[in-house]
Every structure is written in C-alpha cells, then in structure tokens.
Symmetry: C2
Subunit: 183 residues, 2 copies
C-alpha cells in the first residue's frame, strides 16, 4: 500500500490506470500526426527506435500482449505460460505503413482493449489471480495491468526524449541545462 500523502508512488487503481490507457492514442496523435518525416524516423543511433517504431511496438502489444495475457490469467491461470513478447515484431508488421495508418490502428485497437477490460468488471479477487511469465514466473493480473499503464507512459517519455536529442547540437551552450540530451 502507498502511504497517504506520498507523491512518489501510487497503488494500482483500475480507474486511474484506465484514465492513462485511454489517453495514450490521443496523446500520440497530438504529438505526432502531421509532423515532418524527419522527426518521425529520428532515433538515438544503432538499432534504437524511432517514434514510428514505438508506435508499431504499441500496436503489437495491443494484439498479443496485454489483453491476451490478461485473458490467460483469468481463464487458465498459471497452467498456461504467456507467449514471450516479440519486441521486434513491428519491424515486420508495421513496415511500409504510414504514420496516419499506425495512429488510427493503435487508437482502434486500444479502444477495443479498453472495451474488453471494462466488460470484465474486474474484482479485487480477480486482480490477485496469477499468470506464469516466461522469465519472472508468477505475476498477478494487477501487476500486468500496472505494467501496461507504465509501459505506455515510458514510451511517451521515450519518443519525447528521442526527439529532444535531435537538437543536442542545435541548442549550442544550452545543452548544459538539458541533461536529457546526454541520457
């Protein structure tokens, strides 16, 4: 449990998580739709991800990770381990799709996911049910749904960071005030 007044961590409350999950498509839409292509394919070097790559990854998560794993927990518990999540599926599945297509696809899939989640009307008893993660072993439905939420936010942070760093030379001496540039 989180101590009252602690502003550094929150306990999972499904309505508060859904408030985040429901906003992610519109947030990415506001941030990205219509941007010049250079921003969309910008990355951090090597095989790091661009905004387009992250969007493809989020789409793959809607299809194969969050709701499918929640369903396994609810219906089969630990008897059926989760499929390992393919963190590189977007390089196959999203190849050649435009930003607009990816944003629309993500928004539609997320809306479906949230309809499914709400339809379950999950109880406290269900949130403590366990599944079998291929690496971690026992995980609860509550942890899975918390991770789904934090995962969204972490990728919004990633996209913003990747784009910020594009200007690390352009800002000149101000780089000293922007530690994110060297992260």
């Amino acid at each position: 449990m989180t101590a009252p007044g602690d502003r550094t961590r929150r306990s999972f409350v499904i309505e508060e998580a859904v408030a985040i999950l429901a906003r992610t498509p519109a947030t990415l839409d506001a941030m990205l739709r219509g941007l010049p292509d250079g921003w969309l394919v910008a990355h951090e070097g090597g095989d790091t991800w661009s905004a387009l790559d992250v969007l493809g990854h989020l789409i793959h998560g809607e299809r194969t990770d969050w709701i499918p794993r929640a369903r396994i927990i609810l219906e089969e518990g630990r008897s059926r381990p989760f499929e390992p999540f393919d963190r590189f599926a977007q390089f196959r599945d999203s190849a050649g799709k435009s930003l607009d297509q990816l944003l629309d696809e993500f928004a539609q899939l997320r809306a479906e996911s949230l309809r499914t989640l709400k339809g379950w009307r999950l109880t406290e008893e269900q949130l403590v049910l366990q599944g079998e993660h291929p690496i971690f072993g026992a995980v609860t439905l509550r942890q899975l749904l918390s991770t789904w939420t934090a995962h969204d936010l972490s990728h919004i942070a990633q996209i913003s960071r990747v784009m910020t760093k594009q200007y690390r030379d352009a800002v000149g001496p101000w780089r000293a005030f922007l530690p994110i540039m060297d992260r």
Copy 2:
C-alpha cells in the same frame, strides 16, 4: 550541418521547430486534462516537479523567456543581457490554479508566441544574430529557438517519466524491463 541520412540529430529548420512548438499544448491537453489529481501532483520526491509544476514553468517561459529573449536579440543584440530565467516562478504564479486553467493559459500564450514568431518572418541573417546570455555569453537566435523546441520535448518526457515511476512498485517484477523506473 547534419549529414544526410543521420537520424540522430537535426539541424534547426524553423518550420520543423514550429511543428513541435505548435503541438505541445494539445499534447499536454490530451495527456493530462481530466486525469485524477493524484497523477497531476505526482513527483519524484524532494523538490522535484509534478505535471502541474511543469505546466506552470512552461507558462512562465512563454511570458518571460522565449519570445522576450528573441525580441532582445532582434532589437538590441548583445548590448542588453537577458534577464536570468526564474525556474521557480511557477510556485508563486501558478499557485491555486486548476489544471484546466493552466492548460488553457498555456495554449493561449503559446498561440500568441507563435503568431509573433511567424510575423517576424525570420531570415537566415537574423537567425545568426547574437544575444548575451547571463551565463553562456554569446548565443544565437537559432540556438535560442532550438532550445525552446527541445525544452518543450524534454518536459513532455519529464512528465511522462514522473508518471511512469508512480507504478514502480505496482509493476512487480516487470520493473526489471522498465529502466526508466530507476532513472
């Protein structure tokens, strides 16, 4: 200059910067408006900032930093050093304001800033004009406008990171896959 095909850094191009600057109010609106208060006041401990604090800081920047400093460069050059930017003004100016008020105020101020910027129809010759930064000394208008853009993105990344970390206990073992939790 940026090498063609380099996806890790961009040269400043005013239309590309304006594309980011124009999107920030709608991005923050999509991300934050209507969220439960606990998310809005969440921070990283000590005197770190919440989403509300960041929003107040962005508002203060519109009023006193970006366009005012650009105007000093255009009209007075290095003869008049910039005022030091007050990074804590929001704790005075935004106290007691609701999220909705802050979002509306930021959107309005940003729209005015961009009207001013567009009205200037800046030329290459003007982008290399210099101002006098209280710490860095000579800085160019191009560097100032690059910093304005990167600063927006860095604060979107910060807000997302602050909110992500709220679930660092809630995610259980998945914390190992979310390095942002321990940043």
